[in-house]
């Protein structure tokens, strides 16, 4: 390899891993700022001030230059480095569930949940539900649940109304299990009464 090529490769390597390091640091500091770790809360302001540098470079703030943001976000997405690697960390959260209470034309009720055909797709559906649980914005959360309800309505066009129940599932701890508790508990956090358009009106084929 020529010396020029060596230099180009070295610069690429430096930029690539500077970005990887910044993204990972940014995500770790995000966890620290929100007291999601075992580190005492009194250092919040320190983490916030440290986090300014990665946020600035990654254009992850409101006043960031749009062109810089476009380039950085485009590159880090393309390289697959837009997220840190804190999977199942710092703690494994409680799983969530979305249940639709469906009322039918003849007046009876039943309970449905979003359905996919295969286990691989089911894993993605689980991810989607978990992501919905992390959304702080109530309108955004409701819109996603409404879209999921619409797909259930498409499968059962005889439904006249849907109430969406969204909440967490707590499983017994190891000690509770040994003491005889075996059931999972669903704790409802949000209830949405959804007035959905008829599937035909939404352009869907039942």
């Amino acid at each position: 390899m020529s010396s020029a090529r060596h230099w180009i490769c070295s610069v690429f390597c430096a930029v690539q891993f500077a970005l990887v390091g910044l993204v990972c640091t940014h995500e770790t500091l995000w966890l620290l700022e929100r007291n999601l770790t075992i580190i005492p809360a009194r250092w919040d302001s320190l983490w916030r001030s440290i986090d300014r540098a990665p946020s600035l470079i990654l254009a992850d703030w409101k006043g960031a230059d749009p062109i810089w943001r476009t380039i950085v976000a485009g590159y880090i997405s393309g390289a697959g480095i837009e997220a840190g690697y804190g999977y199942f960390a710092p703690n494994v959260p409680l799983p969530h569930a979305l249940i639709f209470e469906c009322k039918y034309r003849d007046g009876h009720f039943d309970y449905q949940s979003p359905v996919v055909a295969d286990a691989a797709a089911h894993l993605r559906l689980t991810t989607l539900i978990e992501q919905v649980a992390r959304i702080d914005d109530a309108k955004w959360r409701e819109e996603l649940i409404r879209l999921l309800a619409r797909s259930t309505w498409k499968r059962h066009p005889e439904i006249v109304s849907i109430r969406a129940l969204f909440g967490s599932i707590s499983s017994p701890t190891a000690a509770e299990y040994r003491a005889g508790k075996t059931e999972h508990t669903f704790t409802c956090q949000y209830i949405y009464s959804l007035a959905l358009p008829r599937p035909e009106a939404a352009g869907a084929t039942p």
């Binding site: 390289a79 690697y85 494994v92 799983p95 993605r124 797909s151 599932i169």
Partner: protein, 335 residues
């Protein structure tokens, strides 16, 4: 510089290509029944492709998405369903091509583009495995393809890449894995649940990862804290212990075993497969060959011949070129 451009035989690249081919097939095939439903537009699918594409577009219009293909097919009067099915078929085809090494680079670029587009258009439907597949495909796409054991090489007898360039691209993957495990380990260490076993218990008993009978997990409960701490230590120390020769095999075996266990006990097969592929490609075989290269460099100074793989194609000579003085490469190109 020497660290970044260590000569390599390129066997790792073959492993990465074949592994990613398998990963892409394992990614696309199980989704065949749900693909159009998962990525369907508003009112036609599970959620709304357009919604997530708008989100991705707001981050950067450069991010690939399936909507581009849908729009393109729309110009020819083809439906969204057709476009999505085409994307799925092309992705599966790219995976098969990667597996055998036929049109390796175009297949790698196509696989990267479609997988990334699916991950971005799927939005919240994407999870960690998608990220790692994108990382693997990104490095494969920019690596010096075709590799020596690909069908391309067999049919066309193309000149193989410079060993230093192969070494550089392998080094990128190695350093990236070190970053992955260092930060993964550190963030785990910051959670109390990894020190007392709660997180392991929760991971193994929460749906849909509860493949093991809860009674079996409960019977192993006293071991869970030790298991949690071991995972934290393994991941955090990976970046340091993977480099020395004495600890590399132990750490590599342990990390592959951990991923295999995650795949088998939690049903995260795709995640396990991609992580094992990346680890084996980065730190797996060719250890002996690296030593061989170093020995050959030493031999070159004294006069001798290079191994056949070091002089990969027509136009290359495997005679040692001492006229280049202390140059990096022993192989010379006559053409």
């Amino acid at each position: 510089m020497a660290f970044l451009f260590a000569a390599d035989s390129g066997r790792w690249l073959t492993l990465l290509r074949i592994g990613l081919g398998l990963v892409i097939i394992s990614y696309a095939w199980p989704l065949r029944g749900d693909w159009n439903y998962l990525f369907g537009g508003t009112g036609r699918g599970l959620i709304s492709r357009q919604l997530f594409e708008a989100l991705a577009s707001s981050q950067s219009p450069l991010i690939p998405r399936l909507g581009w293909l849908v729009t393109f097919c729309g110009y020819f009067g083809l439906s969204e369903n057709f476009a999505l099915s085409l994307a799925w078929a092309l992705l599966l085809g790219a995976g098969c091509f990667l597996l055998v090494g036929f049109f390796s680079r175009p297949a790698a670029i196509l696989a990267w583009f479609l997988q990334l587009a699916a991950a971005k258009s799927g939005g919240f439907l994407s999870y960690g495995a998608d990220n790692f597949i994108t990382i693997g495909l990104f490095y494969l796409m920019i690596a010096p393809l075709p590799d020596r054991w690909s069908l391309d090489q067999l049919l066309a007898h193309r000149r193989a890449a410079n060993p230093d360039r192969l070494g550089f691209h392998r080094r990128l993957l190695q350093i990236h894995l070190c970053f992955i495990y260092l930060f993964s380990g550190l963030t785990k260490c910051l959670g109390a649940g990894w020190w007392d076993g709660t997180n392991i218990w929760r991971s193994l008993t929460m749906p849909p990862f509860d493949l093991l009978p809860i009674g079996l997990v409960a019977s192993c409960a006293p071991l869970l804290p030790a298991l949690g701490i071991s995972i934290c230590l393994l991941e955090t120390s990976y970046s340091f212990l993977i480099w020395p020769r004495w600890s590399r095999r132990i750490v590599l075996c342990a990390i592959c075993l951990m991923h295999a266990a995650i795949g088998l006990t939690m049903g995260m097969y795709l995640f396990a497969l991609i992580m094992i592929v990346l680890n084996l490609a980065a730190f797996g075989p060719a250890e002996g060959e690296l030593a061989e290269v170093l020995n050959d460099r030493e031999a070159r100074r004294k006069g001798g011949t290079l191994p056949a793989w070091y002089c990969p194609g027509p136009g290359w000579s495997n005679s040692l070129d001492n006229t280049r003085g202390s140059g990096e490469h022993g192989a010379s190109f006559k053409g």
